[in-house]
Amino acid sequence: MPALSALPALSELPELFRAPSPPLPEPADALAAGLPAALTPAAAALSSAALLSACGGGGSSDTTPASPPPAPTPPPTPTAAPTDAQAARFLAQAGFAALPADIAAVKTNGYAAWLDTQLAMPVTDGHYDWMVAKGYAVEANRNSFAGLDNTLWRKLMTAPDTLRQRVVLALSEIFVISMNGLPVQWPGFVGAAYLDMLEQNAFGTYRALLEGVTLSTGMGVYLNMRGNQKEDTKTGRVPDENYAREVMQLMSIGLVQLNADGSAKVGSDGKPLETYTQTQITDLARVFTGWDYGAATSTTDPAYVRKPMANIAARFSTGAKRVLDVDIPASADGPAAMKTALDTLASHANVGPFLGRQLIQRLVTSNPSAAYVARVSAVWANNGAGVRGDLKAVIRAVLLDTEARSAATTPSSGKLREPVQRLLQWGRSFGVTSATEAWNIGDTSNPATRLGQSPLRSGSVFNFFRPGYVPPGSALGSSGITAPEFQLCNESTVAGYLNFLQTAIASGIGEVKPSYTAELALATDAPALVASLALRLGGGGISAITESTVATAIATISAATDAGKLNRVQAAILMLMACPEYLIQK
């Protein structure tokens, strides 16, 4: 990878061999300087434990040059409490919005305490149950997604376990199923059950999550493991390879062997070492045979879609199998073979850096340093109590890392806020309510008139955007800076977003309405109004110059009337949520 200071001319060779996870070196002094990190002692202990386990956690390869050891984590200095801006910045990473009560809680108790409170919150008010309670489980909806967008928006906009909602949204973009591709009866309930499964597993272990995903009806239908049958030598039929391939490429180990810091291991020819071969996929596909619905299907009651899939012995491919380098004996039945396969994938050294880096990208920044990835990988390998893949610990490590908590300083730092995240921030910041409690926001996928993105509506299992997406052109492309969310950014979607947002700010989205009571109280003081909004929306990322531009502009609107005050508030929100300092979350 080129260093930040070097901008090589475009050439083909680096494209051919670019590793998917190019960590960018961060200036050491930027990492060490100005770390607020009011970490609790518990978090500090976790951090130390993580460091201890880092040495053995990443695996190694004799054929590859050792990656540089991760930079030591500077000891957190539990001194100053977070500022308002720092608290707001943290809350936009760990949730969707910075509400005054949360800002106050973070300032008083620190980042880790806020996380602990959130991590302790129970899963409540599930998607499936809500859809049943709201009467969606009727024959007329048997072949529709009716209710699924509603319950998605309901919880994303209002559920109190905002950290879980944020992580579930992230997981739904890694363990992707989509309403574009669930050709099955009761598809809305299949999606709801899948979301409930993600909520149940979001703060558990990766191994349990992987099993929940694998045996869900949603994934079974989406990637075709449901109904997958053993080979038939008479007809030449062979097992479906789809889930075997994608669970490895996207949901566990990825395509190339990784060091703990996310960099690719390379062979003697200088090329990245691949993790598996086509032959290994074909063999793993045999493990994933024999699975079907976990209960009898019904045209009147969707409850069966909640059950994990079950194995039908007669359809299971007999004989010995091999998953990566682990043998599965011929004596193993379907569930036993599945257990070995998932154990093998979950214990692979790639999982921590591969998925840890993606969680960092979803929550914090598009281009984490190698050291940051290595620290998260280490926690993935061992939570400090000997548990691998403890997602609670991983989420803490991602959000409490010094790199997450330090103000970003390089010209490639941060990430483009994804469109759904922007809408959720608006909704939560201004307390949207649904008078009908139906949350009729609907599908926001239209790129020209809405967001160009809608939860659980990716175009494929490859998500709305890829972790390795590099925007062509510009400094990002010529430096190989990954910026996943830019895959959704084009001349139509930038305009579509601004227009959709403007209408939402002014009129709500259908019956989903915002409230600007607190903002209207500030409207006569344009600079104060803008400062308050900029703090909560931008978390310190919006400059004084921009605040001044916005304040000057809205001050031209008379605040003598209620209508004028409202115009000031709405114009300020739109300008702030349109400006690049906001849209690039740093």
């Binding site: 494209e15 051919l16 510009s474 400094a475 430096s479 916005v550």
Partner: protein, 458 residues
């Protein structure tokens, strides 16, 4: 025509505009990219017009049920391998193509009747077994891994990227965009060189050329800057400034660059499209038809846009049919059939049929074997090339054997390509007017092939 051979006048004009736009002030080499300043690449009068249109079939099209073996022996082999996936031979009678060399006969899928008519009229050709390669590769070489192979075969995202850009995910320019690079200064407004009516695709990004994205309803205006914002012109003005200003942070700069292009191009495009008479050719309402209808409208507006050479990209998804192949593949092919036929008719209506060439592409082909309900990821596949300039009604390339573990099979009927994407691309680029000496800049691996023109064009 390469940028580094810009005539002196254009170079001066470029620098003047770069300076006027303030990009030089950021003192960064990338800021001098022509793509960053749109029309700075404006150049001389266009003489003729040509457009290349890529129709990408996302998910990996099933070649086995797109072009089906039809002579008795081949059909029997096909049906034996495909089992429940096989299309009945009777259903293929109407779309059977004339007997090819060696006595083999193929049929188009029953849903491709309109493409059959274009074949009969000599304006549609089939490129057989084309796929991603680094160099010509034999089965023995593949098995021995004795020659370089495309990285990450059978992986959707990487093979999409390799088809479009000659390298896996993370590539930053594709061959459509690199063709565009060479013609930026043939077009009055360089923004309209590479136009995407689908989502972002690396195919359309050049080293200088940026893809311009337009919706099926045309360019989208930003309401907040076109009229007073919440009653305030000052707010509309401030909003425009915030979303279009140059930024030093790289992501902010990229974002505002896109917004600037959006705002600027919408004004030009909106006016150009508004002045057009309605197309007489009917298009369907499915997405691919709507996308190609917009391409036809943009081509109709070529003179007011000052366009001489354009590359377009449209797409249709859903081809990854591991399940439900028999039910869903015909629905997708129907959309392809309708959209391509309408588009060709529109080019005839516009009098540009000879000047527009359309081709299909996809992640990869699929297995010939069945998994019971569908097929799996493969490699080589068959594709269409359509246009008035195409010597149609014929096959190009080599018809693969219908067999498992046959001479073209790397496993389960995954075809080892006998023609490379680079060769197909070179043929299309040459038709567009790319000189032979510039082919390596468009296709870095083209030097590995002696045949660089597959002969599609008269």
């Amino acid at each position: 025509m390469k940028l580094n051979k810009l005539p002196q006048l254009q170079r001066r004009e470029f620098l003047r505009r770069a300076s006027a736009l303030g990009v030089a002030g950021t003192a960064a080499p990338w800021a001098l990219s022509l793509a960053g300043i749109g029309e700075a690449a404006a150049a001389t009068a266009p003489g003729d017009y040509k457009a290349l249109v890529c129709v990408f079939l996302y998910g990996g099209n099933d070649y086995g049920n797109t072009l089906i073996p039809y002579d008795s022996a081949s059909y029997t082999a096909y049906a034996g391998i495909r089992q429940s996936l096989a299309i009945s031979r009777d259903a293929l009678a109407a779309t059977a193509l004339p007997v090819a060399a060696g006595g083999r006969q193929m049929a188009l899928a029953p849903q491709l009747g309109k493409l059959k008519s274009l074949w009969d009229a000599g304006t549609l050709a089939v490129q057989l077994n084309v796929g991603t390669l680094v160099q010509p590769t034999t089965l023995a070489q593949y098995k021995a891994q004795s020659v370089p192979l495309p990285p990450k075969l059978f992986s959707h995202n990487d093979q999409q990227s390799t088809w479009q850009a000659s390298s896996p995910e993370g590539a930053t320019s594709g061959w459509g965009g690199r063709i565009g690079d060479l013609f930026l200064n043939s077009n009055a407004t360089s923004t309209f060189t590479c136009i995407n009516v689908s989502g972002n695709a690396v195919f359309m990004a050049g080293r200088q050329a940026a893809q311009y994205q337009v919706s099926t309803n045309g360019a989208v205006a930003v309401n907040g800057i076109t009229k007073p914002l919440f009653g305030s012109q000052a707010c509309a003005t401030a909003l425009r400034s915030l979303i279009t200003a140059d930024r030093s942070h790289w992501m902010e700069a990229e974002l505002n660059r896109v917004v600037r292009r959006s705002v600027d191009a919408q004004v030009t495009l909106g006016a150009a499209l508004a002045g057009l008479p309605a197309l007489g050719t009917a298009f369907g309402t499915a997405s691919l038809s709507a996308q190609l209808q917009m391409v036809a409208k943009l081509i109709a507006a070529r003179q007011s846009l000052g366009a001489a050479r354009q590359v377009y990209f449209v797409s249709i998804g859903g081809f990854d049919l591991h399940d439900l192949l028999v039910a869903q593949h015909p629905l997708l092919l129907t959309q392809v059939n309708d959209a391509l036929a309408s588009f060709y008719a529109a080019t005839v209506e516009l009098g540009v049929a000879q000047q527009v060439t359309t081709f299909t592409a996809s992640d990869f082909g699929r297995t010939l074997t069945s998994n019971g309900d569908g097929s799996d990821h493969g490699w080589g596949s068959h594709h269409f090339v359509m246009g008035g300039a195409v010597k149609g009604g014929r096959f190009y390339g080599t018809l693969p054997s219908v067999s498992v573990n046959g001479p073209d099979d790397v496993g389960q009927g995954r075809l080892l390509p006998t023609t490379s994407v680079d060769q197909l691309a070179a043929t299309l680029a040459t038709w567009m007017g790319v000189p032979a000496t510039d082919l390596p800049t468009v296709l870095p691996q083209i030097g590995n092939y002696t045949t660089r023109d597959l002969g599609y064009f008269t």
